[in-house]
């Protein structure tokens, strides 16, 4: 507006002369100039993907309906496509996408707002929320030095042993408390080891890569181990229940996967992957130092300064074990989300963590995002969009003979790996879940196996920094380059995929009988 008044002032100072049409033209020209200055073209450039996505959405909605897809199905499909583009390109803050999904469900699909609101909060979402609060509570306990002490005590000083120790301990912890928690805790341990070895970053490039990627991949592969390892697992469990469970039909009870059942399916795969992590990393980056005696000795001194375990530390360990036991033995009755929320309250009641810290440490947008993504996923099932895509996909797969068994598994795993490397793995499972489950139905495969393949493959985001939470946190240390992830990541993807397919072939069918 400042510009407009400026023009007005200048007009008063120099009253326009000449014929009325000259005046009019001049005035119009000035108006155009003012408008030009007020349009921020760079805004459109920055947000170009938002407009491209909206354009694609508009085109999709105006296309004629394909065979076998209802009007509502088309709308849901469009919303998913637009959401996927926005997830990948992030032109707007991601929680905005969640809000848009909610608005879209009400305005485009015409669902009652109360029903949409109800569909946002499920046990899975409660579980994701509770786990995040638990994660902050655990990181805040500063147990990292104890863990560091444990690792160097167990492993000695050889680089390969230390790296394996880091991967194992990170993995075991991450499988229960989530990969982001452990990555945040272990990052300083790793960096301290590197810094104590040499002050010159260029001289420990490879060592840094091995140690930090041990943390990162140790956590990533562990995320599949238990439902609390990552949001995606909870999402898949929720989908199985919503898609296949029917209280009146005892045959469908096997689709109710609880904490322990999930562990039986997935934990062995994580354990088998562990040795490969260290092996592949040592092969890819040959560390400059094969012995870390000096660094480990100095780390020991640092850790010893902490003194013995305090009562609050023991209390944390106690809470942690209690939560674990409740998850394993009681979550099938009271729900996993309930346990997570109960655990978070216990930490707050015992004053081990302040609410302010919890509030600042959790990104609540994620909860919103997963809630909306799951809600959209369920709409995909309700409207038949998921089944339609699944059938179309199956038609596509027919020529290459991948409509059942091994071929289908490879395709599903490949598709998931592709998607998960471009967006957060929880979002990938939330978007792909309904499609692959319907695909399993259409191909007459076990939805359990296909579901596991999807949620396990979604952990194969080793290639990019944004893929998994652990990668993002470790990358924030500034010691790694994006190419490091690519270099080691593609081998990891291959090994993990082969191991998972072996499990799908030999182990899971035997369990799912």
């Amino acid at each position: 507006m400042a510009n407009l008044s400026l023009v007005a002032d200048s007009l008063q100072a120099h009253p326009p002369s000449g014929a009325w049409f000259v005046r009019l033209r001049r005035k119009g020209y000035q108006r155009v100039l003012v408008i030009q200055t007020q349009i921020n073209l760079y805004y459109f450039w920055e947000k170009r993907w938002f407009f491209i996505a909206m354009g694609i959405g508009a085109v999709m909605l105006s296309l004629p309906l394909p065979d076998g897809l209802s009007r509502d199905g088309m709308i849901v499909l469009t919303m998913s496509a637009v959401a996927t583009i926005l997830f990948i390109t992030e032109p707007v803050p991601l929680p905005t996408v969640a809000l848009l999904i909610v608005v879209g469900e009400i305005l485009l699909l015409g669902i009652d707002s109360t029903i949409v609101a109800k569909s946002l909060m499920t046990d899975s979402v409660l579980f994701i929320m509770g786990s995040l609060m638990l994660a902050v509570a655990i990181v805040k306990q500063k147990l990292d030095k104890r863990i560091a002490w444990l690792i160097v005590r167990l492993t000695g000083t050889k680089t390969s042993h230390v790296c394996f120790g880091i991967a194992v301990v990170s993995g075991l912890l991450a499988s229960f408390v989530g990969e982001h928690t452990v990555a945040a805790m272990m990052l300083p341990v790793g960096i301290t080891l590197i810094r104590l070895t040499s002050d010159e970053p260029a001289r420990v490039r490879n060592l840094a890569a091995v140690i930090l990627l041990s943390i990162c991949y140790g956590c990533s592969i562990a995320g599949i181990g238990t439902p609390s390892g990552g949001a995606r697992n909870a999402i898949m469990i929720g989908y199985w229940k919503d898609f296949f469970y029917d209280a009146g039909d005892p045959a469908t009870y096997r689709y109710l996967i609880d904490y322990l059942k999930w562990m039986i399916y997935a934990y062995p795969i994580f354990l088998i992957q562990l040795p490969f992590v260290t092996m592949l990393l040592l092969m890819t980056f040959k560390p400059e130092y094969s012995d870390l005696t000096r660094a480990v000795a100095r780390l020991r001194i640092q850790v010893r300064e902490e003194g013995p375990m305090k009562p609050s530390d023991w209390l944390t360990v106690f809470f942690f074990l209690m939560i674990l036991i409740t998850w394993i033995f009681f979550s099938s009755e009271i729900g996993m989300g309930t346990v997570a929320v109960l655990g978070a309250s216990a930490f707050l009641i015992a004053a081990l963590v302040r609410w302010e810290d919890m509030n600042a440490g959790v990104n609540w947008g994620v909860v919103l995002l997963y809630a909306a993504a799951i809600s959209l996923g369920l709409e995909m099932k309700e409207t038949g969009a998921a089944a339609w895509i699944a059938e179309s996909l199956l038609d596509l797969l027919t020529p290459i003979g991948a409509t059942s068994g091994f071929g289908l598994w490879v395709s599903v795993s490949g598709l998931t790996t592709l998607v998960t490397n471009t967006m957060s793995n929880g979002a990938a499972v939330a978007m792909l879940g309904p499609i692959v489950l319907k695909l399993a139905v259409a191909a007459e495969e076990s939805p359990l196996i296909i579901g596991f393949i999807t949620s396990v493959s979604s952990a194969f985001a080793y290639l990019t920094v944004v893929g998994t939470p652990a990668c993002t946190i470790v990358y924030s240390s500034g010691y790694l380059k994006t190419v490091d992830f690519l270099k080691a990541g593609f081998r990891m993807v291959l090994v993990s995929a082969v191991l998972m397919l072996l499990a799908a072939w030999l182990y899971w069918p035997w369990l799912a009988r």
């Binding site: 990969e179 805790m185 970053p201 949001a231 990104n363 994620v366 939470p469 946190i473 924030s476 500034g478």
Partner: protein, 334 residues
Amino acid sequence: MAEADYDDWNAEDTVDHAALDTLEWRRSRFRVLVCIDGSDSAYDGLRFAAQVGKHEECDIVLLNVRPFDQGLRTGGLQVRLARENMLNWGLEVPGVEQLKKGFDLLLEHGHSAQEWDSRHAHSKKWGDPVGDSKIEFRSDANKRIVLKLKVAPDVASGILDQYELGPYNLVIMGRPSRWQGEFRSFFDAGVVQKVAMLSVCSTLVTRDYAPGRGFLVCTDGSAQSRNAAKRAAVLASFCNETVTLLSVAPIPEKVEKAERLVARTKLIIEGSGVPVAETRVRVGEPIETIIEEGKDFSMIVVSDSGKKRLTRFLAASVAFGVMGRAENSVLNVR
């Protein structure tokens, strides 16, 4: 001037006279922005800046931009939690180390900044707990060396924002990790490419900078390019480098014209008191020829004649082609 010219964090949104004076004063200086990302080629760029920056009227600003932490990518746990944890262990924010190393490098090159007056400033930006911070060293003659750590939504916009805070004459960046074609850059451009495209001032991309082998100044005869050649020649004399002029004729029939252009540009350069060591005229595809000819020089100097994106899109810009594909340092004069 003492307090007034001191950097106000948001010189652009508090329009007071102090800020205006600061900007006015900065315009009178030759200001070099060196973007440090910890890579070797970025430090090469810094070495060049140290060379140029020996002159009294030159200020050097070392910048490290950190994209702010996004909790969503970490599955809902804020990165600041990890960062606080690191601070508890006595580990610093990445970037601090890199800036320190850069500063040491400047000291090695004879900038005795550690004896100068220094000031710190800090501000929270983008809700990030670490925020922006900087240390400014000032000599008695009011020459400055600034170390700045900045957070931004992404690195390229951080660098471009820094330009807005005070006009710079030259932005120096290290080797780009990727450089897309004109079409792909619309959707997905690397940091260096984005800054090179959008920056208002001259940009230098350093790759294995080896001083002492001279500048190859390319000219296409346009008024803009003649002006650019003149400014590049002055810069070359600043760092004791020889100037070699090159003009490339796309077809043999235009050789004569190219020779005329080179001769004219040579006169202009020599008019500003800088000797021209050699002039060359070649025939061939401009981008490839320039890269081939420029291999053995310290630096290739090109000027994009102020082409807008659309024009570049329709007729690929030689300057950008050279910047992206050359094996050694390229200076794009604007």
